[in-house]
Symmetry: C2
Subunit: 348 residues, 2 copies
């Protein structure tokens, strides 16, 4: 990895700033060429910088007196949040001082401020939140995870293009298989937006590897590399999957403690069970990108720990290395989205 | 359980009629007072009736030459399907000869024909598909699982009432906690339909135990007893949960076979792991009800086996015993839905 500078909102997240600083230290261990612009309360950061000298050596700190709270309304932050750690960290990306920004703070505020400061890529109507999720095959990309509650067909078709670029960047897949999340695989299934989005994506031709509709259980199967959906459905699908995983883990633990024999068995299988836990560790999947902006903005889960936060930093650095936004722009041109093909044109 | 007669579409489902007949035999073992009206091809049923004499002894067979195919369009079945096993089985409920009907056939056709024959309960705009799902607490009810792609606030609020009655009937909970599935728990979250549905359900007062909004991960946590959502989101959430469970099971099996120590461990823990598998056996959760019709219609998963089908039969019998539709009608009256309170009225 080349030298990459990432701006960090040191005050965002349930365990900030400690988890942010320790996360930065872990990220440097992984990629020693990383450097940081840290935005936060200097008094709180000072002892942490002393604790993590590797971070201190590769960081420039900007003192900020204000921070965005987890329950602050995005509209209020947009009006009055110019001096917050979040705002100033995003501003550093706009000014080219950082290749990307990572925050574990208030998602709505992060999106609203990012849109105002960075603006969307020409040809993209709305940014989307994209993240990785585990499947029985390789990981897959899902978007939108909650930025846009209502999405029409054109917006969904743009998500397909952005997801395609994201999968190429993050998963190194040459021609990612794109699926549109629906309640059935037949053409007649679903509401107007998904039916029409399917027509629009097909009209993009061979440059996109469109699988067609996929259903909820196709996510875990790994039927496609990119699952495209609106932010309402995507958010609920992602959280339902997380909740199901936690429920099964709960029952598995209970089973393996339920008798002496089970406990002996668990002891024998300990290493394998630990490997399983690692495979599905949600912290490994931390770091969702706001795709479609003129700048890299990665949202870390608010409740994650230092390891989780370090993964979000590495996602941001990887996307910067790949020039993700340049690539999305290129793909948009390939698909002649500049012309904004309408549904009527696609159906001809 | 009292004497209950259930109509069975013997030709619906991937493994019909064998799975239907063996399922009926398993259901009789569990509840010997059950009896059946069987609708299907007599030639195919005859050897199965010989194989399961307990079913033969408690069944009346109606020969049908036609069956609804899994890919038949619901609108076509409505026009031309009057002589199918599915249609005639539903007709038996309408005529009072059966207390309910179970089919593992084409879901869309089953819903369309059921609506035409049985009609909706007065005061209910649209029937919903309701089913049980496992949580870390007791099972919970989720609806709609796919009958209605688009739902406005009034329809969602009716689902809350129907889900309440269903949870009382099937889970024997006196005051089920009702949650509305959304992308966040704050009032401002979500699209207009969920926000307005929340206002309408709150306006029902203390007669309903409304928890408010729940998120996807609340399903597995068991935060509420009834999860209310539109059919698009509900179908995707349910299938995402199923897919996640299968994915974890895949990795768990692989882990427990990955080394000699792991295999020894799995052998010791075998009984506990088997109990875990039983706890989360999807066949136990087979049998989704079409709520809101003047008659009990239970949809079995098309790919289930005899055990799964027997569970769907027992769901239908249980709902018949509880007089579920009578109860929904009563609840509607309690909530004065006859007046059809509008959103404007609720907000005053």
């Amino acid at each position: 990895m080349n030298n990459v500078t990432i701006a960090l909102d040191a005050m965002g997240g349930d365990h900030a700033p400690a988890s942010v600083m320790e996360g930065a230290a872990l990220a440097i261990q992984h990629s020693p060429q990383l450097s940081f612009l840290l935005f936060g309360d200097q008094e709180k950061l000072a002892p942490l910088l002393a604790q993590f000298p590797a971070v201190a050596a590769r960081s420039v700190v900007t003192h900020t007196e204000h921070a965005v709270g987890p329950h602050d309304k995005p509209s209020a932050v947009v009006r009055t949040g110019r001096n917050t750690s979040m705002w100033l960290a995003i501003q550093a990306v706009k000014e080219g001082r950082a290749a990307g920004v990572v925050s574990a703070g208030n998602t709505g505020a992060l999106m609203a401020v990012s849109k105002i400061i960075l603006k969307t890529i020409p040809g993209i109507a709305r940014p989307a939140i994209a993240g990785l999720i585990p499947t029985t095959q390789r990981d897959c990309v899902m978007l939108d995870l909650g930025a846009n509650i209502d999405c029409d067909a054109e917006i969904l078709s743009q998500f397909a293009i952005m997801g395609d670029a994201f999968a190429r960047a993050v998963l190194s897949i040459k021609t990612p298989r794109i699926g549109l999340l629906n309640v059935g695989s037949e053409d007649m299934k679903g509401h107007e937006a998904v039916k029409n989005a399917s027509i629009l994506i097909r009209a993009m031709g061979d440059s996109i590897n469109f699988h067609g509709f996929v259903e909820g259980d196709d996510i875990g199967k790994g039927t496609v590399d990119v699952v495209v959906t609106d932010g309402f459905t995507g958010n609920i699908a992602l959280k339902t999957a997380e909740g199901t995983a936690r429920m099964i883990s709960h029952y598995l633990k209970r089973s393996l403690c339920s008798s002496l024999l089970a406990r002996i068995g668990a002891a024998f299988a300990w290493r394998s069970l630990k490997e399983l836990k690692n495979t599905l560790d949600p912290r490994k999947y931390n770091g969702a990108m706001f795709l479609g902006l003129n700048g890299i903005v990665v949202k870390s889960h608010g409740g994650t720990d230092a390891f989780g936060f370090s993964r979000a930093i590495l996602v941001a650095a990887g996307l910067a290395e790949y020039n993700i936004n340049q690539r999305i722009g290129d793909e948009l041109r390939v698909f002649e989205m500049a012309k904004k093909p309408t549904l009527e044109a696609a159906e001809i």
